[in-house]
């Protein structure tokens, strides 16, 4: 069975507005911003059940096809999405206009708390950071 990706729930939550999307990894404390164009890609990725469906939803735009791996790589590196089995789900049509993931770590002091916690950012508590 081929692999696609889904939101890393419940560790990741996000809020989409007309202008952008804010995503937060509750385990690492890092949060991210996607501009309007990147938000379209994010929404389509989550709504698609396979790589083929994701590309097809953007009309198989060559720029998208060429950048799917780097997009997936950026999102998986931050544990925002995780591998899942393929499904038949299809996303609504959209136009690819680039993808960039802005990363912020300025909430870590509040979420990490007063004593800096030593949990592994990938595995979460109670696994210790190496």
């Amino acid at each position: 069975m081929s692999t696609w990706f889904r939101l890393n729930s419940p560790a990741v939550v996000f809020d989409a507005s007309a202008d952008d999307t804010v995503i937060i990894n509750l385990v690492s404390g890092r949060y991210f911003r996607l501009n309007a164009a990147s938000s379209l890609a994010w929404n389509a990725l989550l709504a698609s059940g396979s790589r083929a469906a994701f590309a097809a939803s953007a009309g198989n735009a060559p720029e998208l096809v060429a950048s799917v791996d780097s997009m997936i790589g950026a999102l998986t590196a931050e544990n925002l999405i995780v591998p899942a089995g393929e499904t038949a789900a299809e996303a609504a049509s959209w136009a690819f206009a680039g993808f960039s993931l802005e990363s912020f770590s300025d909430l870590e002091d509040i979420l990490g708390l007063d004593p800096i916690h030593e949990a592994d950012p990938d595995k979460g508590w109670p696994a210790a950071r190496d």
């Binding site: 996000f14 300025d106 509040i110």
Partner: protein, 372 residues
């Protein structure tokens, strides 16, 4: 009943207000006869120990810990109580409104960044409110705020502190001393102390013997104000000669300073939740000058006792602060000083003493106690 209390690190009963509230909760729970296991997130293997202990209820302090530990803790099968210290997002939004931020950023950039942080924080806190079996917040206004956002969420107020009152030495033995208590780790404290030293104190210092600031303070924005005047900072240190930083002190030494002081100060220009420092002053019989943020959550009960805020002069502008401090420093107002001192202490005894706190904790746990 076995109650587990989870914190992100060691609980410092003399540290920040959040740690103190957790410490007070643990003490009240034990006094009520429950077994308490304190779980420190930073200790590897803590969850395994918790699972073996099989708690009836798990209390999780702070949004960061609740949200990242939720998956692991929910597998225990015990109800999860989110012990929220305040609504952080509201504090951040207020900070953004005030334009407080990184000094390297322009006002607009700082405001936008604060708004973005507040939005991310709201995501975290909404997760906590909607996933906890019960959320505890210190003020009624915060409970209303969360219920308005999430009608299905189970949210209640828990009196946040258990404060013992301390007898004041009396006006005749009072030094003309003003006191601020609080450390630099809490952002509103940093802004408040900077405002106090830069704008307020230079205008009233001649009316007082000294200003004592209790807590850990090493941030350059504050310490640079205390440096001798230089060509780069010609006004540095002006009118701040009678300011004394004590560092963090044991409770007994804090008591000595407070019970012989004239006034407590809460110059907080943003924030959310209950302010321990204001209650601390009142518990020591100290009339207090505070912004509206310093008396958040006090309103209704105090209205009934004092006609305003018991023991507190509320001042939100620089001009109001100067007038309030000069009036309190005026010995001709001895009767008013005593009235404020007594009213503030009576308020803390009735609302934030160990007994009302214990009763509130008992009420929270009683729903599960019957089943255990």
């Amino acid at each position: 009943m076995r109650v587990a209390v989870c914190e992100a690190g060691p609980i410092d009963a003399l540290g920040d207000a959040g740690s103190r509230s957790v410490s007070d909760l643990i003490e009240a729970t034990r006094t009520l006869g429950h077994e308490v296991l304190v779980v420190n997130e930073s200790e590897v293997g803590a969850l395994e120990a918790l699972a073996i202990w099989a708690p009836v209820v798990v209390v999780v302090s702070r949004p960061g810990l609740f949200s990242r530990a939720y998956s692991a803790l929910s597998r225990l099968g015990a109800p999860l109580i989110y012990f929220a210290h305040d609504i952080h997002e509201l504090r951040m939004a207020e900070k953004g409104r005030l334009g407080v931020g990184d000094i390297s950023l322009t006002h607009g950039a700082s405001t936008a960044l604060n708004a973005q942080r507040a939005r991310a924080m709201r995501l975290v806190e909404d997760f906590c409110f909607t996933h906890a079996d019960l959320t505890l917040l210190p003020t009624e206004e915060e409970v209303r705020e969360v219920k308005a956002r999430h009608p299905a969420a189970n949210v209640e107020r828990l009196t946040w502190f258990a404060l013992d009152t301390v007898a004041h030495a009396g006006l005749a033995e009072t030094a003309r001393r003003a006191v601020f208590i609080g450390g630099e780790r809490h952002e509103p404290n940093r802004d408040g102390v900077e405002w106090l030293l830069t704008d307020i104190w230079p205008r009233v210092s001649s009316a007082f013997t000294e200003l004592v600031i209790i807590g850990d303070w090493t941030v350059p924005t504050i310490t640079s104000l205390m440096e001798p005047a230089s060509s780069a900072h010609p006004d540095a240190g002006t009118n701040l000669a009678n300011v004394r930083f004590t560092g963090r002190l044991p409770a007994a030494e804090v008591d000595v300073i407070m019970r012989t002081a004239l006034v407590g100060l809460s110059p907080l220009r943003y924030g959310a939740g209950q302010k321990r420092k204001t209650l601390d002053y009142l518990a020591h019989g100290l009339p207090t000058v505070s912004t509206s943020f310093g008396v958040q959550g006090h309103t209704q009960v105090e209205d009934a006792i004092d006609g305003s805020f018991a023991g507190v002069r509320v001042a939100d502008t620089l001009a109001d602060w100067v007038v309030a401090l000069r009036e309190i420093a005026d010995h001709a107002n001895a009767h008013e000083w005593m009235r404020m001192s007594n009213a503030g202490k009576a308020f803390v005894e009735s609302e934030y003493g160990p007994m009302p706190h214990r009763l509130a904790v008992q009420q929270i746990f009683s729903r599960w106690n019957e089943r255990s």
